[in-house]
Amino acid sequence: MLHYLGRRASYSVISILGLLTLVFFLTRLTGDPSALYLPLDSTPEARAAFAHLNGLDQPIYIQFWNYLADLLRLDFGESMRQHRSALEVALEAFPQTLKLAFVAMLLSLTLAIVVGSMAAARPRGLFDRIATVVSLAGASAPDFWVAIVAILVFAVGLGVLPTSGTGGWEFWVMPVFVLMLRPFGLLVQVVRGTMLSSLASPYIKTARAKGLARHTVVFGHALRNSLLPVITVAGDLSTGLINGAVIVESVFGWPGIGKLMIDSIIQRDFAVVQSTILVTATAIFILNILIDLLYAVLDPRVRY
């Protein structure tokens, strides 16, 4: 178990380091930040001083070496835009995204398990057909479009929900709904598919022959065995949920990591871009390990 975790962790550290290296060189290619941060008529001396202050006048491999050395000391650099620790900026935005993603994932997982199991219980029935079309539509909908149509209807048209920002529960409705669409749609399909094959297995016939009620068989016997692939897909979708978060946060003005990332890329705030990537990648790595542990809990046959 510990051996497995150790190997898993070392792989992830290599991945994260590779990612940071890639991003370091890519962001350095985007151009000189002094063009964005200093006034247009500033003198060459001022530009040089700015570059020197931020260590941008050194060759790129020295910059990279300095960056790695700082990383080892857990120093992630300073945000050029906000003049404070870049990690602090990233860690401040991250919980906002985490809250949003957690609520959306929990809701879509619960709903998808219920809807998918009910659809699989009577394949080709009316409920199954409706569920299939709705879930396919959810998986195919462009989230940015659904977001602005929702704003159009509920905020501009009916005036019942706020267009953007944070605050009470009414600010959560539209972002969570939009973020749920894709995971919900895909998960319903997965639950339905695995439930169909579970329900076709002999042990279900035995359970039915014993005289157990239909819903006991569907939710008690078949569902437990179908959960494993569902958890796998849900884990993969959680990484993708960050994609959705970027869109949702930028449309609804949600101060999360996605919005921070876009803003920092556009403003060439290198240190913040790197910190957001570090934070996101670490979170995804922890999530993957948790999912592996969950396997062992759900399926007694799985041992590491």
């Binding site: 479009w145 994609n243 869109i247 996605g258």
Partner: protein, 308 residues
């Protein structure tokens, strides 16, 4: 699979198979609608720019923000006009060409690159196989949209870069599938036979293994098409995808975003077009899965009996 079809005379085997598939398609009305919609879309995308390319870019300040469902100004304006008075219907048709073209180019590139890398990573045990796999892990472990944003901002937004970025984010999918297939195929007798006859690795991979991996990759690419369309639209919506004067559906939604309260139709129609296209693709791939799965195919067959 292929050795069976080579035993049966191919002319008699191919024809009924196509007809059987068509019959299955006719049973499932939803899938049939999806196929018809996609066919119309592809024809429109191919012929559209030639038929009404001029109308899509012609400014008409008299028709600024014209509301939809009026035909006084001509049937081109039936879906309304945008802020510069350009009719939306022809723009949707021209945008379809760009959207589908970019997606097709990205899917094809990622299939080619991912497939080749996967063949190499699966066939050899050298150090570069491990490098290829770790590379795929890195791409997979990170949200694709963020990666695309960074790369696009670095390289600068253009159609070529957009295709490259979209392809990079999808490469791991093909790479992993191809590798998994090769791992199994390379232990088969025909590979040993080829090696015994003196074929080198490149020949074995390209002539003996690749043809057997290709059908799987093509199947995946059909499903992947919808994902790539959505990714491209999202990037163009965020302003880092296609740049004016070129446009895709995603860019059209972005244009209309500022006019939501005054002219909802500018952002609405292109988004609906994206949704209908990806929905059709998903319906079709879900239908194909049902047909390909013998456990589920009997449902279509029993439907057939009931219909008679």
């Amino acid at each position: 699979m292929s050795d069976i079809s080579s035993v049966v005379p191919s002319t008699s085997a191919a024809k009924p198979r196509g007809r059987v598939l068509f019959n299955y398609l006719k049973r499932d009305r939803l899938a049939l609608v999806a196929v018809v919609f996609l066919a119309i879309l592809v024809i429109a995308a191919l012929l559209g720019p030639w038929l009404m390319g001029d109308a899509a870019t012609k400014l008409g300040l008299r028709h600024r923000n014209m509301a939809p469902f009026q035909i006084d100004a001509g049937w081109l304006y039936v879906l309304g006009a945008d802020t510069l008075g350009r009719p939306i219907l022809p723009r949707l048709v021209v945008g379809a060409g760009n959207t589908l073209g970019i997606a097709a180019a990205a899917v094809f590139t990622s299939m080619l690159v991912g497939g080749l890398l996967g063949l190499v990573a699966g066939y050899s045990e050298n150090w570069y196989s491990h490098v290829i796999q770790r590379g795929a892990d890195i791409i997979m472990s990170f949200p694709s949209l963020l990666l695309a944003l960074i790369v696009l901002y670095t390289l600068g937004p253009s159609i070529t870069n957009l295709v490259i970025v979209l392809a990079i984010t999808r490469v791991p999918v093909y790479l992993r599938t191809a590798r998994a297939e090769v791992l199994e195929l390379r232990e088969r007798m025909f590979v040993s036979a080829a090696r015994a006859m003196g074929a080198n690795s490149a020949r074995i991979i390209l002539r003996h293994i690749a043809p057997l991996v290709l059908p799987t990759l093509i199947t995946i690419s059909a499903i992947d098409f919808a994902t790539v369309i959505l990714a491209e639209s999202a990037l163009s919506f965020l302003g880092l995808g296609i740049q004016p004067p070129e446009f895709t559906w995603g860019a059209m939604v972005a244009n209309g975003r500022g006019y939501l309260s005054t002219a909802w139709w500018i952002a609405f129609w292109p988004g609906l077009a994206i949704m209908l296209t990806t929905l059709s693709l998903n319906i079709l791939s879900s239908w194909a899965r049902t047909v390909a799965d013998p456990q589920q195919r009997w449902r279509l067959q029993t439907l057939k009996k009931a219909a008679r």
